[in-house]
Symmetry: C2
Subunit: 340 residues, 2 copies
Amino acid sequence: MTDVARVAGVSHQTVSRVLSDHPNVSAKTRAAVTQVIEQLGYRRNSAARALATRRTHTLGVIAVNTTLHGPASTVAGVQEAARDRGYLTSAVTLRTATQTALAEAMQHLAGWGVEGIVAVTPQRAAVRALAALEAPCPVVTVEGGHTLDLPGVSLDQSLGARMITEHLLASGHATVWHVAGPPDWLESEARTQGWEDALRDAGAEVPPVLRGDWSPLSGYQAGQQLAGRFRTSRGRGTGLTAVFVANDQMALGVLRALREAGLHTPEDVAVAGFDDIPEAEFFPPPLTTIRQDFASIGRDSIGLLLDHIEGRTDESTHLVVAPELIVRASTARRIAPPGT
Amino acid sequence: MTDVARVAGVSHQTVSRVLSDHPNVSAKTRAAVTQVIEQLGYRRNSAARALATRRTHTLGVIAVNTTLHGPASTVAGVQEAARDRGYLTSAVTLRTATQTALAEAMQHLAGWGVEGIVAVTPQRAAVRALAALEAPCPVVTVEGGHTLDLPGVSLDQSLGARMITEHLLASGHATVWHVAGPPDWLESEARTQGWEDALRDAGAEVPPVLRGDWSPLSGYQAGQQLAGRFRTSRGRGTGLTAVFVANDQMALGVLRALREAGLHTPEDVAVAGFDDIPEAEFFPPPLTTIRQDFASIGRDSIGLLLDHIEGRTDESTHLVVAPELIVRASTARRIAPPGT
DNA sequence: GACCGAATTGTTAACGCTAACAAGCGGTAA
DNA sequence: TTACCGCTTGTTAGCGTTAACAATTCGGTC
């Protein structure tokens, strides 16, 4: 900066003013300085800037297992939104969301002076650990539920599950079975809750819940159990004709298991998933599912975080993003519903 | 730090020495200072540290379209490796790899004083743009090929394609058809090259190449064309009995198109993919594919980058990571190969 | 022509840390 | 005893920027 000042024949402070778009700089000086900056390829040192302003303009992102479609898309959405708002993001990826791992990640980010953290923590244990930790800066959770008083953004998982379930009931199924995700995951619990609520509201019987771990393999195993139930439950109130699987990957496994058992989808058993991964449209058959708007989730979480950082609010607001139902062949109508 | 020094009754420099593990500090002082640090919850300011040492210990990651399985896993691998080596990573995700977008991302990172950049640039245009840009710090490419003299790491795409093709030929197919990825992608080109080389080496005829854009939909469209070819090419040298699809997502589309056309996999047409996405094992039928070791790629790229940063080398070495063939039902043997 | 206020520019002192050197303090060898 | 060494600790001066204030310039007014 001193170099630029010398070449342009002004003080370094004037250069600083030009760079910060300060109003009180004459057009002539501004032009001259700008030209010298260009010519010398000068760029200001963010570390020094951070030191002087006590602002780093950096946000941290903590996420678990970012190779899955959901987390990967969420993180991408968050990063994009942060960049649009002029912040650098630094992502730390954890393999497991233990309290120590989370604490370490936070130290790591805090050491770099991040002004806020977006934590993508869909597991109950992770949110609890997060709430227990005393953060060195504002923290916003994504998919962290709203039970603890941390500000956050989530997709309305429960509504999504309800939409799917009601869609299946409306298609003529007496009830809907459910393959849930792992018990510790908030997303999993909310989806199960939405499914159950929808069944109760409709006066349908609530069949026992099967569980998977989000992986296609676990879906496959659940599917094999379902195939067995198909025979034994026939004609009863909980007769197996429709299944809501808690994510698309498991649904793929379920579809394979049903197919191997000689059952047809959707004729014998209708199947629906959740997430709308890019592959879902090409499953055998194309899968009815719920789409999440990851860009919105990213924008909202960054907006919320900046509200806290810039002191516009200190409440722990919880924003909810609406899901979208995508109907495909895997849940084609069984009988004409009333009124059509 | 001044506070810590005052409470511990030493100079701030001694505190600094304790934090930097300087050898010449007495055990007693060290213990006292450590305790005060703990007690006050002090953490040193990285911006000031960066300013004084002229080192930021931050690496940048530039990637395109990180919601796909490949890039997402690569970025995760790179970040993990960087963290293990004590560096903070800052990821910038681009939607498209235009020269301007790349330049902007670099400016963004350079402004934060990153000491090196890992660029995940599988498109030819992106690498070319990268090579044209004068970087403010060492840059290592991942999947950027080795045509331009940038140091980099890649999976041996061409070898993977060769392994797949040879596996199919060994399974009794006279030749192997190919659905390629978009022409500008190096991965796509290397896979096509490996396939073609394997066919030529085996003296098999080289059928015309079909193209997709990595998406399941494009695979589906290619699959429809293939189904048409199945009838017309029957009995000829280029008879369609096996297809190598350049990635698993497209392979899913191909499988669906073939199924809809009444063709059976692998009895009528064997299909193989590339990437080994988690879903591949549950495709109808389970897909033969190539697995990439993303953790190795991450480790190698960070290792290479640090070699450059820390001045251990300035050659543009290009490391290659070996692929792994995963054989599944989609390519079950057609006839017993010689010798079994 | 002196004086005022606004606009523009310059000067100085932080920001929190590390590097380089200086100082103190025992112990050892001449 | 004196000189010198090694270990430990303290002092000072930056690193490159911005904030706060001081100084200068300029156009207009009385």
